[in-house]
Amino acid sequence: MHDFRVLELEDALGGTARGGELPRSRHPLGAHYLPRPEPRFHALERLLEDLGVIIGRDPAGRAEYAPSTIVAASVERHQLDRIWYAGISPEHGATPAEQAEAERWYAHLRALDREGPDGRRQFTLPSWRASAALRELDAISMRDYLQRLGVTSWRLRWEIDYACRDDYGCTLEQTSAYAALHHFLARGYDEDRPRPLLAWPDGNAELTRRMAARLGYIAAAPVDPHARVRTRAAVVSIDPDRGALRAVLRGEDPEDPGELVELSARAILWAAPRFVLPYVLTARGRDPLAGHRGPAMSYSPWLVASVELLDRPGGIGSPLAWDNVPVQRDNLGYVVATHGEDRSDTRPGAVVTYYEPLTAETPAVATRRAELLAGDLSRWSDHVVRQLAAMHPGIERQVTRVSVTRWGHAMIRPVPGLLFGDALARARAPIGVVRPCATDVTGLALFEQAFYSGVEAAEEALARLGRGAASMIP
């Protein structure tokens, strides 16, 4: 398949998986890691093979990953009452009752990690290929589910809430029970061996960069109107029946009004946020979401900031890890972009990337988004430095640069009823030749969901062109 075009509105490819660069190091702007896939995710392994992340196979056929992509120990630590502890579970000081509750919770997860009566796993990736057995758990919130289970320990509740905020940008009150459990079980539950994570200095931007390179895209090259991959391309209208698409192509000059071009396509994959689509459809009435009632698709706003420091952050207790999380705070802490540097790199300093989802109930989340986007950038950089200083008193004197990224619609929010409700089915449904397939229409903002959504839409498009083949989706 060669006759296709990729049109990107922004100056750079990657969406939320873009990266930035400070003098000391590259850093992520958003998505920053990928859990090492299970061998059953063949298509994903194949992608990673194509991108040079998997460098070979051992005699048993197991994928061998480039060591520099695996996050090395220490992977994570959490801060509780000013002391850092290894791992993510705030177990220090737990009472026997709390420990017993944690054991019951792990046993509960183990029990859920199996196939349903229909022979499919109860939790898997992509989520729409899971067994239907536990889908009713999508109707209730994780808070209600934990109440039903009798989970009262603040430690467990914090850990689960942290997982929801980290994966989806919602608290456990706002997340469906199915989505929250999905975090723990989608890749299989394994408590003995921590699942390796794959990461790069600028996060998943490395993956999008390698994908773009395979399509012949060179970020620094002069604009080529005939290029297969075109940035600064604003799609302004799509006629879903005729496959006629109009786009304004801009040059690098911000004053450039651009040039209107028309393209004709037999299949269009809409990989932009779903809420933009009605604005470019020539017939808005064709949008199946138009008349939909029920839980609407809502998005969590995120504040992400990379901070360049003169020295690596320290702290009392467990040493600096890749992911550093304060317990009982609104923010999720920071990851260290310079964590993967090898022993030959003796430069001082570090770049850390701070993450904070702005959580709120569904109508109020729009207010928080407005607050995030309206505020002055320096206000947010001050906020970030203050939050870091709460973890590391005096760190403000180490800060040399702060790069703030504000994401108004960073992640789809898997609120109760969304994942297996009518809204997503309608959001994914083809409209003429247009097939929406961005992460948001999958209900969970995870790399694997986005990947399989794209693969599925591409397979459908190929079938439409008469080139259908066996599906690669597990």
């Binding site: 040079g52 460098i55 070979g56 051992d58 005699p59 048993a60 061998e64 990953y65 480039a66 060591p67 520099s68 695996i70 996050v71 090395a72 120990a73 220490s74 992977v75 061996r193 921590p194 390796p196 994570l197 040493p319 090898d342 022993r343 030959s344 003796t346």
Partner: protein, 520 residues
């Protein structure tokens, strides 16, 4: 002239006693600095003469500067005492600390020397001027200088006979700092009437006295902390690279390499270690042509390899260019490595081993018949990576068909969980490990592992035509036998993202002695 009172006599005695203490302290600081310089920088003749020269000239400078001190002599004398107390008292601790943390300890050492020397040089003229009232010049000079020289004699006897053996450098300097502060305190009390701000000076002197006395009490612990950086034998070369501190000591025929204070080899028995590391692997493969060495920047493993005529190419990957340059170029060290690092068959690559092998494979580089992994012990997370399953899989992928890897794997006796963790990790990486060990007196019972993709028995015969001092066919066979109290342990696999080995290693060695490590 009024007749001297009783209290005047008491003051004069205090001042003469001060001369004695000041002179003793002055020489003690000089001796401490010179000893530290020869400990840390090597070449004691040069260090002692440099220290004496700089110290005496700084004293001259101080004496000359004393003419500019025209007012409030008592205040200034106490100030000078306190500066000497603080700088001199903390000098040994500061130099130990600086040695571990600065790229060069010389500027610190000479700064301390100049400050203390100048202040000591100021002291005697000030004292003489304070004491001059009521005395004839001839008596004054005679008394002061006599006490000054007696003080020096006292110091030169005390230092080698009592202070160094019983107190050590750090506590000795704290002790004399406390004495200096004591003199300042006594003078501040006795000369209250002559001082501009007696309370402030008294408080300051008391503070310095208490602080130094506390450090003296804590000194035992500080000394032990610093002891890690001290060496049994005279230092020949000491160099801080971007990555580590390299120290070579020599005592008679025994030359030793330390990395960050940890012994890497002793020239007396290193042949046992390196023969055991190299020749079983070569015998296991047969006649290797291409060999990769990861670590081993001292060139000693390469020396053993290059004894084999079949070897056409050796790639040696060591992180630290300072290490490979030192062992390639230093005339005292090249005889040890047999000039292996300059051998045309060998190429040195200064890089992180994991990154280098990853890039070698990405480049599609040719595989190796033998891979020698001779890295410092896994005492931190960045070294622990190089003992992980991920790393061993990478190594397995770089082996030619039938190839052999050999890994130095810590001590199966001193660190049994660490050793068997390495063995288990190799197995989990899809390699067949064959554990063995040798007795290397300076390390104790030391462990290695042969690893190959296919399953095969341990080699039975040492390679022919190679001059060996330790290995024979009988000894080789015995290396693969473990006694009953060293059975294989059921321990976890070392993964890149948990690095359990680093924990095992810490716990294993902490259980014995923190000083008996062979690490970097």
């Amino acid at each position: 002239m009024p007749a001297p009172t009783k209290s005047d006599h008491a003051r004069a005695r205090l001042l003469l006693f001060s001369v004695l203490i000041v002179a003793t302290c002055g020489l003690i600081y000089e001796l401490i600095t010179a000893t530290m310089a020869s400990y840390l920088l090597g070449d004691s003749v040069t260090q002692f003469s440099l220290v004496i020269g700089v110290y005496l000239s700084a004293m001259g400078l101080g004496s000359w500067l004393s003419k500019y001190v025209t007012r409030r002599l008592h205040d200034r004398f106490i100030d000078v005492q306190l500066v000497i107390a603080v700088v001199g008292g903390c000098s040994a601790a500061a130099m130990f600390f600086g040695y571990g943390h600065l790229s060069s300890v010389r500027p610190l050492l000479f700064s301390i020397l100049v400050v203390v020397g100048t202040m000591v040089g100021l002291e005697i003229p000030l004292l003489m001027r304070i004491m001059k009232d009521g005395q004839q010049l001839k008596d004054l000079v005679a008394r002061v200088l006599a006490f000054d020289y007696i003080g020096s004699l006292l110091a030169s006897l005390l230092f080698p006979l009592l202070l160094l053996p019983y107190l050590g450098l750090v506590r000795a300097s704290f002790l004399f700092g406390t004495l200096n502060a004591g003199v300042a305190l006594a003078c501040a009390r006795v000369f209250q009437g002559q001082l501009a701000r007696p309370r402030l000076l008294l408080a300051r002197a008391l503070l310095v006295f208490v602080a130094l006395a506390s450090l003296l009490i804590l000194g035992d612990r500080l000394e032990r902390f610093a002891e890690n950086d001290l060496y049994e034998d005279p230092v020949l070369i000491s160099q801080k690279s971007a990555y580590q501190r390299l120290t070579i000591t020599r005592f008679g025929e025994d030359m030793r390499l330390y990395i960050n204070g940890n012994l890497q080899f002793s020239s007396v028995d290193e042949h046992r270690y390196h023969e055991s590391l190299i020749h079983p692997a070569v015998a296991d493969f047969g006649a290797p042509r291409r060999v990769l060495v990861l670590g081993g920047g001292d060139g000693l493993a390469a020396r053993e390899l290059l004894k084999h005529a079949s070897i056409e190419r050796v790639d040696l990957v060591d992180l630290d260019p300072a290490m490979t340059t030192l062992f390639r170029e230093h005339t005292l060290l090249t005889p040890l490595s047999g000039g292996s690092l300059s051998d045309p068959r060998l190429t040195v690559h200064n890089a992180d081993a994991m990154r280098w092998v990853e890039e070698h494979r990405a480049r599609g580089g040719d595989p190796y018949d033998v891979i020698v992994i001779d890295l410092p012990d896994p005492n931190n997370l960045s070294l622990g990576k190089l003992y992980s399953r991920t790393f061993y899989r990478l190594v397995a992928g770089a082996l030619a068909p039938g190839g052999t890897a050999v890994i130095q794997a810590t001590s199966p006796y001193l660190a049994p969980r660490s050793y068997w963790c390495v063995v288990n990790t190799l197995e989990d990486a899809g390699l067949n490990p064959r554990p063995y060990h040798a007795h290397v007196p300076s390390f104790g019972d030391w462990g290695f592992v042969l690893a190959s993709v296919d399953r095969r028995p341990p080699p039975r015969r040492v390679p022919e035509g190679v001059a060996l001092r330790f290995l024979t066919d009988e000894v080789l066979a015995s290396l693969f036998v473990f006694p009953a109290d060293q059975e294989r342990l059921d321990v976890e696999v070392n993964l890149l993202n948990n690095q359990i080995l680093v924990h095992y290693y810490e716990e294993d060695f902490d259980a014995i002695s923190p000083l008996r490590r062979r690490n970097g």
